[in-house]
């Protein structure tokens, strides 16, 4: 139904270059036995949608056309694998996500949400074992969690109990990571989402309050939540409106710290773009992988770490 599943997205070692045609589970299978006839479908059957070119084992790894269901980097954000999965994710989304969106506004939130989600899947596509299908919005939520962490750091001095807030966030991260080591949970999308959230957050969140004092910007939150009236003051000196009104004036009289922070933001944005490009290139062209990476998402218990390896590779 659209999960991130690498064999539907490109030629995969072990499939297109296998010695025999790999049988796939049919969508209507109810058996885990690899010998059951309901597990003898073609790749195209499994991938669904408009189908994919079935691997021709005589042609090897470079055969074209390749399976190319690229939307499998995006669609899994909306899929979930079970009631518990969706419940936990939605709980987190409707508490932390809602709060964060009310703080930073819908546009920024949407940007981080979707970018983290997609990046999480791109990471997973690159580094997770190839036959694991991955779904869920936890990559997105990890990105938002990273924003929460950044917001905490930025406003450290103004919080009544910053340490306990930090502990909550760290606890959350640790628990999720440990749970992600269990079979069936994909840590890569968590890790990727978190990293993307951190970097994007630096790019688009407001500057830390300590910095704002030093460079003379108001420390008010993004927009006052409770009031109906808009504050014009902030827009006069900062923000897109001011920039479009007098572009050169926007830059006059700014302190070095302001410039430094903007430089950091630009660097972060560049970093984001580079990361996406590199990983996507790697996924489609270079195919380098790392053999130890799977241990970020599995524990060497029983055969957990061989889940997702294509038989024969």
């Amino acid at each position: 139904m659209g999960a991130r599943f690498v064999p539907c997205m490109r030629n995969t070692h072990g499939i297109q270059d296998a010695n025999l045609t790999v049988p796939w589970s049919c969508p209507n299978t109810t058996s885990l036995l690899s010998t059951d006839p309901s597990n003898m479908c073609t790749l195209s059957d499994l991938c669904g949608f408009a189908g994919v070119p079935n691997p021709d084992i005589t042609k090897g790894m470079n055969q074209k056309p390749e399976p190319n269901q690229w939307f499998r980097f995006i669609v899994p954000m909306f899929l979930h694998a079970g009631i518990i999965h969706i419940t936990f994710n939605l709980l987190l989304q409707l508490t932390m996500g809602r709060e964060m969106e009310m703080i930073i506004g819908s546009v920024r939130f949407a940007l981080v949400y979707f970018s983290s989600g997609i990046f999480g899947f791109v990471m997973g596509g690159n580094f997770a074992p190839p036959a694991i299908a991955s779904t869920g919005c936890s990559g997105c939520l990890f990105g938002i969690l990273a924003l929460t962490l950044l917001d905490l750091i930025y406003s450290w001095g103004q919080r009544p109990k910053p340490i306990s807030d930090l502990m909550f966030i760290l606890l959350d991260v640790v628990i999720s990571f440990v749970l992600g080591l269990l079979p069936g949970l994909d840590n890569f999308s968590h890790i990727g989402g978190f990293m993307m959230g951190l970097v994007l957050g630096i790019c688009i969140l407001r500057s830390p309050n300590t910095l704002r004092e030093r460079i003379g910007l108001p420390s008010t939150p993004y927009t006052p939540m409770m009031s109906g009236a808009r504050t014009n003051m902030d827009d006069d000196d900062n923000g897109i409106k001011a920039f479009s009104k007098k572009p050169v004036g926007f830059f006059k009289g700014r302190k070095p710290a302001w410039w430094a922070w903007w430089l950091l933001r630009v660097g972060a944005l560049v970093g984001v773009l580079v990361a996406f490009i590199v990983l996507l290139n790697n996924f489609y062209k270079y195919r380098t992988t790392c053999t130890w990476c799977k241990h970020l998402s599995c524990l060497p218990i029983k055969n957990w770490c061989s889940i997702g390896q294509i038989p024969g590779t």
Partner: protein, 190 residues
């Protein structure tokens, strides 16, 4: 309130209507001029300040009633009229210099939400900006509307709601599709 009486008895020019706390949402006052520069008196963080602090519960929601144009505030540039009544010699000093810089250093920045002891409310003078944007600052973190009543008031987090709805819908579709594929459900419609 005792504090009110105290300041009213000092011919408070604000006319005793400086406590607009019960009307927290009147933000349509024109932005009052910045706190007039206070005199060169040394700051008096003394006991005459603290009685007022008890009256200003919601530092972030104080608003200006009409009579606060001359914030004849002293040393503590009370930007909030409600608390600004601290200065009892306000009549004579029309040019109070806001000592924001001094106070910012002394107290750090407690402009942000969480940090709201009542004592600090009274000391709330470290703002260099016209008061009302900060008057309109959201409540301290712990007072923000949470829970059920906050769901559709104020700013609505559209993205979260839309995405949640989509995810739930897709989940139901997943279950239905799986059900039909393994023949658990019979497709009736469509």
């Amino acid at each position: 309130m005792a504090a009110n009486d105290y300041y009213n008895s000092h011919s408070n020019p604000y006319g005793g209507n400086s406590y607009g706390y019960d009307e927290p949402h009147h933000y349509n006052e024109p932005i009052p001029p910045p706190a007039p520069p206070s005199s060169t008196k040394p700051p008096q963080i003394s006991t005459d300040v603290s009685p007022i602090s008890t009256t200003s519960k919601y530092y972030g929601r104080q608003n200006y009633s009409g009579g606060h144009q001359t914030l004849g505030s002293t040393d503590n540039g009370y930007y909030m009229g409600g608390a600004g009544a601290a200065s009892h010699e306000n009549d004579q000093y029309a040019d109070n210099i806001p000592l924001k810089s001094k106070y910012q250093k002394q107290q750090g920045s407690d402009e942000f939400l969480g940090q709201n002891t009542q004592y600090q409310n009274a000391q709330y003078q470290n703002s260099q900006y016209p008061p009302s944007p900060e008057a309109q600052r959201p409540l301290p973190l712990q007072d923000r509307p949470r829970g059920r009543k906050g769901w559709f008031s104020g700013k609505i987090p559209w993205v979260v709601y839309v995405v949640t709805v989509v995810q739930i819908a897709v989940f139901i579709a997943e279950i239905v599709k799986n059900g039909t594929l393994v023949s658990t459900l019979e497709v009736v419609c469509c």
